[in-house]
């Protein structure tokens, strides 16, 4: 297929945490709200002249200093983020809003605060730590509303004078939904038998929507959607279609590696992926309920974080994977986990068994480093073997 016009542009945005769009937004006097957890309602950090940036650490190499602070037993994502913060790679941020969600990411953010990694010389800088509901219920919605008021809206208003009214939230939700719809439309093309967008391209575009100011990204994203609509598929024969489920994939080379093995990544279900992170937030403006509560309800009920512990959610997450896999015609599922990530370690174990035994999918269960380059050979071998096993099953006509 012909390369997407802006693919290189989007790829370049992912080469550095402090990308050119962040620099542009900052130069225009906007306030950067950095965050670390997918459970935080993103639109609330995009109010007025604030824009949200999800912290990530592309091209991570050595994480030695972070390893001193957090030992080599913590997940590499948390260490890579801390290392980047210590190096000054997140100095563009005007605040850090962290969630006490998974323990390791919380500790990374706490170390950032204690080491004053981002706040040197910034009088208005603030660190906030939020409690995230552990269950999907109305009690959880109430908690998230209160947490958002106290740890996002209040400090943004008090420190930076951001408008946090219902109108401002509604406007931010509309912008958020617009981005989500664009991603969703791109996602639909992945269902095609001869898809006109690769899983890698989709991953690049999706990740960019988390780590760049959205308002500066929309025009190129719209153009790209239009381009894909009219794109001619190249008729490539993929050996299999897989869905990737698990920890955040900040290194899109992982998706490329899978596709280089001849396997099409037709769907994604990981932290900061498109499911459920890029599902539009449904707002009923005629409802008696305020906009904030409606936004929080979306995050509580749509959230698929493995730390959501009520059994409806535990079973629901596997069913959700099954439903998407079926909708996107996946032949198999890759459950992946960043090494040392506890929540996904357990989710991967139970999920891989349930998807195999209860839903009949072939499943590859793997752990991986934050930066796939350090284990590319091993991962390639695992994926190749998995694809071969799917192919053999197809040839033999056995159970899926």
């Amino acid at each position: 297929m012909k390369d997407l016009k802006y693919l290189l542009y989007f790829e370049n945005l992912l080469q550095n945490a402090n990308n050119e769009l962040i620099e542009q937004a900052k130069a225009e006097g906007n306030i950067c709200a950095a965050f670390t957890c997918e459970n935080l309602p993103e639109p609330l950090m995009n109010l007025g002249n604030a824009f949200s940036v999800r912290l990530f650490a592309p091209n991570s190499g050595s994480v030695d200093i972070a390893t001193y602070y957090m030992t080599n037993l913590l997940c590499e994502t948390s260490r890579a983020l801390l290392e980047r913060a210590i190096e000054g790679g997140f100095n563009f941020a005007d605040c850090l809003i962290a969630a006490d969600g998974c323990t390791m990411m919380n500790r990374a953010a706490e170390n950032m605060e204690l080491l004053h990694t981002m706040d040197e010389g910034k009088k208005k800088f603030f660190y906030e730590f939020m409690e995230i509901p552990l269950k999907a219920d109305e009690n959880g919605v109430e908690l998230l509303v209160l947490q958002c008021k106290n740890h996002i809206l209040k400090p943004l208003k008090e420190k930076y004078g951001i408008d946090v009214s219902d109108e401002a939230i509604l406007k931010a939700v509309e912008e958020h939904n617009h981005v989500c719809r664009l991603i969703r439309e791109l996602s639909e093309f992945r269902k095609e038998e001869d898809p006109r967008i690769t899983g890698y391209e989709f991953a690049v575009l999706t990740l960019a929507t988390y780590v760049c100011p959205k308002h500066l990204l929309i025009d190129k994203l719209e153009e790209t959607v239009e381009e894909v609509r009219n794109r001619e598929p190249d008729g490539k024969k993929w050996r299999a279609r897989v869905m990737v489920v698990g920890s955040e994939v900040d290194d899109v080379a992982f998706i490329k590696l899978i596709e280089d093995c001849g396997t099409y990544v037709c769907a994604d279900r990981f932290c900061f992926g498109s499911f459920p992170g890029r599902m539009p937030i449904e707002i009923d403006e005629n409802s008696d309920e305020d906009i904030l509560t409606q936004v929080c309800r979306h995050y509580v009920y749509w959230g698929m974080c493995p730390r959501m512990m009520n059994m409806e959610k535990v079973y629901g997450r596997k069913k959700y994977v099954n439903d998407i896999a079926k909708e996107y015609n996946a032949d198999g599922i890759i459950y992946e986990q960043v090494k040392f990530c506890d929540p996904w370690a357990y989710e991967r174990m139970l999920g891989s068994h349930m998807l195999r035994e209860d839903y009949g999918f072939p499943v590859l269960s793997v752990d991986r480093p934050y930066n796939i380059a350090s284990a590319a050979g091993q991962m390639r071998t695992r994926v190749q073997a998995f694809v071969e096993s799917i192919e053999i099953k197809k040839l033999q006509g056995g159970a899926k």
């Binding site: 006490d100 170390n111 908690l143 059994m311 370690a345």
Partner: protein
């Protein structure tokens, strides 16, 4: 900043009995137990022997019931209970006078309590006792769960089935969990998660838990691993045994005001769930009776800690921790049998303090034990005292709630009670430090060092405990700034294959020799051939 140095306190009294403890250990490297009983002088040896007989009587009473014999053959982990007397020997090694009596009083009661729990478990267990009527009145709870939400139930019993199956079993014999860890890993769980919830998941996968109860209440206890392991266990309970489960949410940022309502509401939901499944209504009179006992236990714990802040600590070490765990969490005021034991312990503590009783020939350092202890080597705290003269004043797991809860039955207090139960639930042992931000884990440690006049922190670095490891650098830096020795001792909680007992002791000894430039008080126990012992 110069490092703190406490004055060495010499024991003026001559120590009766054995002077060197190393001679009690078998040299063949194969034996599971000590070579012989310790000679502690006539009076203390007789006392120790009498308590040994008492333990044997508990075991005999337990095993005399057919259902418990049946369980012995059904459940793999039951074999560990042959080592109960040996566990007491580990905890009492080298102790005399009040310390010996305190340890026996506390730990013997824990043994009695665990035996009772096991007896109850097998009474209701579908595979052994199968008393269906009894089982209908049982609620399964987690090993690390605060049982506060059961304080208002008369007939319905909280069954902490993971306590005897995993937690205590690993105190008894060091290799008790390895089989279950292997099972969990064969099932697909990585080997780098905390081995405690991993072993519990392994037991469930291996179908080696007793099966009973009308329902189960699980809590996100100490870590992400504990939280996530619940899903694996609940899956089997619900799908295979038809036991409905409820997940009780305890907020992470438990010191914040804006999470308390969330926690209290979930306590209400948990109580409602139990009421529905057990068919019993919540009884406020009983709740407030229990609340009084919770406060009483809190007061006693604070008094013991007060004494430990002096030059003559009395109730210390792993038994201090284990007794507090049992009383604070497993019991949580529900049993009237604990207060008399608390009282007896306090009397012994006061007596020991007045007599200036010491547990070693000299005390060189006052040490706070922080982090999570290796379950299979928890008795090392006594070894530190006997080998190096380092007194373990208290440990992280014992530094729990100090707040008094409402204990009078009034309409306002009934609403407050939900908040109190939630507060207790949030402040379960360990989780009250591993969650809640760095202030409760790091900052408060230095406050305790100040309060208890400690010059040393022995930092258990449980290698799979992400919450603690995540603050490693901060402990190092802040300890140095405050002039407090931070001795890192690594372990893997309940998997001695990763870190042996001797490897753990070596890390401590290395620090004492190279940094402190000290020689052991009792060199015969610097190296102990206990790799194959229970």
């Amino acid at each position: 900043m110069a490092f703190k140095r406490m004055k060495t306190i010499k024991n003026p009294r001559k120590r009766k009995g054995e002077q060197t403890l190393g001679q009690l250990y078998p040299t063949n490297g194969k034996s599971k137990v000590l070579k012989r009983r310790e000679w502690r002088g006539v009076k203390d040896t007789l006392y120790d022997y009498y308590r040994w007989l008492y333990i044997m009587s508990i075991l005999a009473r337990f095993i005399s019931k057919p259902r418990n014999i049946k369980a012995m053959f059904r459940y793999r982990w039951m074999a560990n209970y042959l080592a109960v007397p040996h566990m007491m020997d580990k905890f009492t090694l080298g102790l005399r006078d009040e310390a010996l009596r305190i340890t026996h009083t506390a730990m013997n009661f824990v043994i009695y309590d665990v035996a009772k729990t096991m007896d109850n478990i097998f009474r209701g267990d579908r595979r052994t006792g199968n008393d269906e009527e009894y089982s209908r009145h049982c609620v399964l709870t987690d090993e690390n769960a605060m049982t506060a939400f059961m304080m208002g139930f008369d007939e319905t019993k909280a069954i902490l089935r993971e306590v005897p199956t995993m937690f205590v079993a690993n105190l008894l014999t060091q290799y008790s969990t390895t089989h279950y860890l292997d099972v969990a890993q064969e099932f697909g769980l990585p080997g780098d998660v905390c081995p405690m919830p991993e072993a519990e998941a392994g037991i469930s996968i291996d179908d080696d838990f007793a099966v009973l109860g009308c329902c189960a209440v699980q809590v996100n206890t100490t870590c992400d691993g504990s939280l996530m392991g619940n899903g694996v266990i609940a899956h089997r309970l619900e799908k295979e045994y038809g036991i409905p489960t409820f997940q009780l949410a305890a907020p992470m940022r438990h010191r914040e005001d804006d999470v308390q309502k969330y926690a209290a509401e979930d306590i209400k939901a948990a109580i409602k769930f139990v009421e529905e499944h057990a068919g019993e209504k919540w009884n406020w009179t009983r709740y407030f009776e229990c609340a009084k006992r919770v406060n009483d236990a809190t007061r006693k714990r604070l008094e013991w800690l007060d004494v430990n802040s002096t030059y003559y600590p009395q109730f210390v070490g792993s038994v201090f921790s284990l007794y507090n765990d049992t009383n604070y969490m497993g019991n949580c005021g529900r049993s009237p049998e604990f207060p008399p034991i608390d009282k007896k312990l306090l009397k012994l503590v006061h007596k020991g303090y007045q007599r200036k009783s010491m547990m070693a020939p000299e005390y060189r350092h006052r040490c706070i034990i922080w982090g999570v202890q290796p379950q299979y080597n928890i008795h090392m705290l006594y070894w530190m005292m006997h080998c190096w003269g380092v007194v373990p004043l208290t440990d992280m797991l014992s530094m729990v709630n100090t707040r008094m809860i409402a204990e009078e039955d009034t309409p306002e207090n009934r609403e407050q009670a939900y908040y109190d139960m939630a507060w207790l639930n949030e402040n379960m042992i360990m989780r009250n430090r591993t969650h809640g931000g760095y202030k409760v884990l790091v900052d408060e440690l230095w406050d305790f060092c100040e309060m208890m006049n400690a010059d040393m922190v022995m930092m258990w670095e449980h290698m799979s405990c992400k919450a603690l490891d995540g603050m490693h650098g901060m402990f190092e830096e802040q300890g140095r700034e405050r002039g407090i020795h931070v001795v890192w001792v690594c372990h893997d909680l309940c998997d001695p294959r990763v870190y042996t007992r001797q490897a753990i002791r070596d890390e401590f000894s290395q620090y004492m020799r190279t940094v402190m430039r000290e020689e052991p008080l009792d060199p015969t126990i610097e190296h102990i051939p206990d790799e194959n012992m229970w």
